[in-house]
């Protein structure tokens, strides 16, 4: 595919119309967009904000984000365009010449038709993430029933009824096209009125862009797994520890990590070293801009459409009321900050009470960069951009050690026999005595970033519902070998753990324990059977698998139509994995079985255990995988429902 006209970022994008295109051509779309903006300026809120000069209007236009396409009939064209996010022109994968792809606005109850034309030189596909639809429309080549991807030059017509509402997204399920730009937002308006009221509605699409070829990124990780990690613990950090804790405590603190050959800073495989983090396609230098008038309620539909990046999102000076998770309404909960895993979505409502600007700040989990936007009553007014938080260290709890039981207790002089290690071994060849941490005082550790964070009484009740199994964990024989570098011996339910880097940071941070469905659980049945899946890998070799078996070697999971499953994940790695089940909801067991939140993507924290229920109500082939792009090749299962 030859390089086409460069995109003017955020502006109108022209390319030759596709002859069979019956929807508005890109030029028309551009006109619509212009009219939309003008309309807004003349009669709408922008005029009310005093946006009279063309330059201001242009400034606002520039920072808006992708266009919105509405209706029931869509023509989407996948192609390549020159984009420039870093100062260097690169080829991006676009939909209707837009990166991110256009926002699709559907209406619950409609039947939508989407004709997707592939102008790439390789097979492509679009998966509608979180949308409940027939398998044949799910868009995963080789797994969705009868779907083998969209070949170059071909058009595939997706058609399905929209039976849900909320915030979702869509992306390619072929190769690494998601990394190069093929992702966009889906907003579905409900038939009935929204439970939450708001005056403005903005999509906030977070993503990560690299100038590198994603194939090279993957190969670099195979050659040197910490290639992108420039936040390892180094000399200054060691000296600081020794000064604060003394030599012995510092040695003991780091002993296990050194013995296990693990990095406490293994937070993200790919970082800001190569990534430019985008908000609605805007770089941190530009920033996305959302306008408001004081006193208005703004709904932000935050979507993590990145390939590899978890974001910690906050708006300094504003509380956020989380009203939906993964498109589904939850009981509103007011927070200062939340972590959004790859592929998750959160809808929040904010109410700025004065005429000030606010920064919407999304720092990546490894604190190597951020995406940002501004909520402002005036395009000329921006807010201060906060400093990124300090780079956190993974704790022993993140290694699957049983620290929870000891939270708040002094562990110095602890007898090893009290230290629950059911399977005895953490590593092959690792002596049990190495688990000892003589003189180590977990409870009094100042940063408390050890997985040993404090549990409030109320939340610990919610975190450990009575029917959870939390006994010794069993690891299958397939989990032993050169392809698996770690197994969690005492993985804990950590629903009320905000996760590494967010523990005890002085802000109210959302946790999964906060998620409570606004409606009662749609399927009240107890699970018919339980499946335990272990997330496994070898970081150094950069291999990822489930139960130690990678997708290429795995039998499909066969589920029975109509059954109610409980799936329990055990994370035997030191990374967060956002696990996404296609086609069926994941009813996350957060404590109150009457109000289980429905999710499509669930973060499984390092060294932890988490479970959800699935009503197996969708026949056919489905993908089930870690949504980190460079993990999913191995950490993947095909599910067949019949």
């Amino acid at each position: 595919m030859s390089v086409k006209d460069p995109i003017t970022k955020g502006g109108c994008r022209f390319r030759r119309p596709v002859s069979h295109d019956t929807s508005p051509s890109p030029e028309d779309v551009c006109l619509i967009r212009r009219r939309f903006v003008q309309g807004l300026a003349m009669g709408g809120a922008v005029a009310g904000l005093g946006l009279s000069t063309p330059s201001l209007l242009a400034a606002v236009m520039k920072q808006q984000g992708p266009q919105t396409l509405g209706g029931t009939d869509f023509n989407l064209t996948i192609s390549e365009q020159t984009v420039n996010f870093t100062g260097t022109p690169r080829i991006g994968t676009t939909v209707n010449d837009s990166l991110p792809a256009p926002v699709l606005r559907w209406r619950e109850g409609d039947r939508v038709t989407l004709r997707v034309t592939n102008l790439l030189s390789e097979t492509s596909s679009i998966h509608w993430h979180g949308i409940i639809l027939p398998s044949a429309m799910d868009g995963v080549p080789g797994i969705a029933t009868g779907f083998e991807g969209i070949k170059p030059g071909e058009t595939f017509t997706y058609q399905f009824p929209v039976i849900q509402s909320g915030t979702y997204w869509y992306h390619s399920h072929s190769g690494f096209q998601e990394q190069t730009g093929l992702y966009g937002a889906i907003v579905i308006d409900p038939r009935e009125s929204e439970p939450a009221s708001y005056d403005r509605d903005y999509v906030v699409m977070l993503s990560d862009w690299t100038d590198e070829d994603p194939t090279d990124v993957y190969k670099k990780l195979k050659k040197l797994s910490h290639y992108y990690n420039f936040n390892e613990r180094s000399h200054a950090d060691l000296m600081k520890d020794i000064e604060e804790k003394g030599l012995a405590a510092t040695w003991n603190d780091r002993k296990m990590w050194n013995q296990m050959r693990m990095s406490q800073r293994d937070l993200s495989d790919v970082t800001g070293y190569t990534y430019t983090y985008l908000m609605n396609g805007q770089t941190p230098a530009n920033g996305w801009m959302g306008l408001f008038k004081k006193g208005e309620k703004i709904r932000l539909r935050i979507i993590n459409g990145s390939a590899m990046s978890f974001f910690d999102v906050r708006i300094p000076g504003l509380k956020m009321t989380v009203v939906a998770a993964d498109g589904q309404h939850i009981e509103p909960v007011s927070v200062d900050e939340f972590r959004i895993g790859v592929a998750e979505t959160y809808d929040v409502i904010v109410e700025p009470k004065d005429d000030t600007a606010y920064t919407l700040f999304a720092q990546d989990i490894s604190r190597s960069g951020y995406a940002r936007g501004t909520l402002t009553p005036d395009p000329l007014l921006t807010a201060e951009i906060p400093e990124m938080d300090v780079v956190p260290n993974l704790g022993h709890g993140d290694m699957g050690m049983d620290m929870m039981l000891h939270a708040g207790h002094d562990m110095s002089g602890m007898d090893h026999s009290q230290h629950q290690m059911p399977d005895g071994k953490m590593m092959p060849g690792m002596d049990h005595s190495q688990h000892q941490m003589p003189g180590m005082s977990m409870g009094s550790n100042t940063d408390m970033d050890m997985g040993g964070y404090q549990l409030s009484n109320a939340s610990s009740e919610r975190a450990n519902p009575s029917d959870f199994t939390s006994g010794p964990v069993h690891h299958a024989a397939s989990e032993y070998g050169p392809h698996v570098d770690m197994r969690a011996d005492a993985p804990q339910y950590r629903l009320n753990d905000p996760g590494v880097g967010l523990r005890n940071n002085g802000r109210r941070v959302l946790t999964y324990a906060d998620l409570k469905n606004l409606r009662s659980t749609h399927d009240q049945r107890e699970p018919d059977r339980e499946i335990e899946l272990h997330l496994t890998g070898n970081m150094g070799r950069y291999m990822w698998s489930i139960n130690g078996v990678k997708h290429a070697n795995a039998e499909p999971l066969r589920w029975k139509l109509g059954e109610r499953l409980r799936i329990t994940f055990v994370n035997d790695t030191m990374m967060n994995h956002p696990m996404h089940l296609h086609g069926m909801w994941s009813d996350l067991e957060t404590g109150d079985n009457n109000f289980l939140p429905r999710k499509h993507t669930v973060i499984v924290q390092p060294g932890s255990r988490i479970s959800y229920r699935v009503t197996v109500d969708a026949e056919g082939g489905w993908a089930y995988h870690c949504h980190l792009l460079y993990h999913m090749l191995g950490m993947f299962r095909t599910v067949i429902v019949s």
């Binding site: 993957y218 050659k223 936040n231 392809h483 070799r541 291999m543």
Partner: protein
């Protein structure tokens, strides 16, 4: 023996070459670990220590070489062709053929070793080498990387060689023949490219030292080194 080695390597190839999937593509890496000039009293030797591998997650072919040149003459040159198989999370077993090209006459060995990361993050490469005349050699190479900053890395290294028999033609004596201690400070301009400076101390022992003394060579030497480390 060469035939045996090639047969072994062919077997390895047949089990690996078709193994790659999308998750496990064929990857190669070329690493010039040391390309340096050593400052001695006399003629400064020029040293290359490099390796390369190609393969998949668990099965690879390795090539390793060490070359030392003085005054435009190659004084020492060694190559190894190895099949490498992951046997534990942090360890690969490597087997194949080693040839010492210089000093002459050349010597062939069957090479068997393991390479990986030991607890406390020591990179270890250890092997035994079985020669044609019943000569048995052993080598241990261990390296640590201490991060002064994210880009400035201090790396101590030890290498030692042992042999079971004297081999006067190539100046090898039985027992511990030589040991090398290095300390290099590199600055990673890029991950892939780092100039460095350092010191290198070598000592030869026992009969090997006697052979060297007979040739009028020093038995121990402390050298300043300057070089580059690069990979792709």
């Amino acid at each position: 023996m060469k035939k045996t080695v090639f047969a072994l390597m062919a077997m390895g190839l047949s089990t690996t070459v078709f193994a790659g999937g999308a998750d496990d593509p064929l990857v190669y890496k070329v690493m010039v670990d040391k390309l340096e000039i050593r400052n001695t009293g006399g003629n400064d030797p020029f040293v290359l220590d490099a390796d390369a591998w190609v393969g998949y997650d668990l099965n690879k072919f390795w090539f390793k070489t060490e070359v030392e040149r003085v005054d435009g003459e190659t004084e020492e040159a060694e190559v190894q062709f190895l099949y490498s198989r992951a046997v534990a999370p942090f360890w690969d077993v490597q087997a194949g053929w080693r040839r010492d090209i210089k000093p002459e006459p050349d010597r062939d060995f069957l090479a068997l070793g393991f390479k990986g990361l030991a607890p406390y993050m020591f990179e270890v490469d250890a092997g035994v080498f079985i020669g044609e005349s019943g000569q048995v050699g052993a080598r241990l190479d261990a390296e640590y990387e201490y991060m002064l900053t994210q880009k400035l890395i201090l790396s101590p290294e030890i290498e030692m060689n042992l042999y079971s028999k004297d081999d006067e033609e190539v100046g090898i004596g039985s027992g511990l023949s030589d040991m090398e201690l290095g300390l290099r400070l590199r600055y990673e301009v890029l991950r892939e490219f780092a100039p460095y400076i350092g010191v290198n101390w070598t000592k030869i022992f026992g009969q090997t030292a006697d052979f060297a003394s007979d040739e009028g060579e020093d038995t121990s030497d402390l050298q300043m080194v300057i070089g580059i480390r690069a990979w792709f």
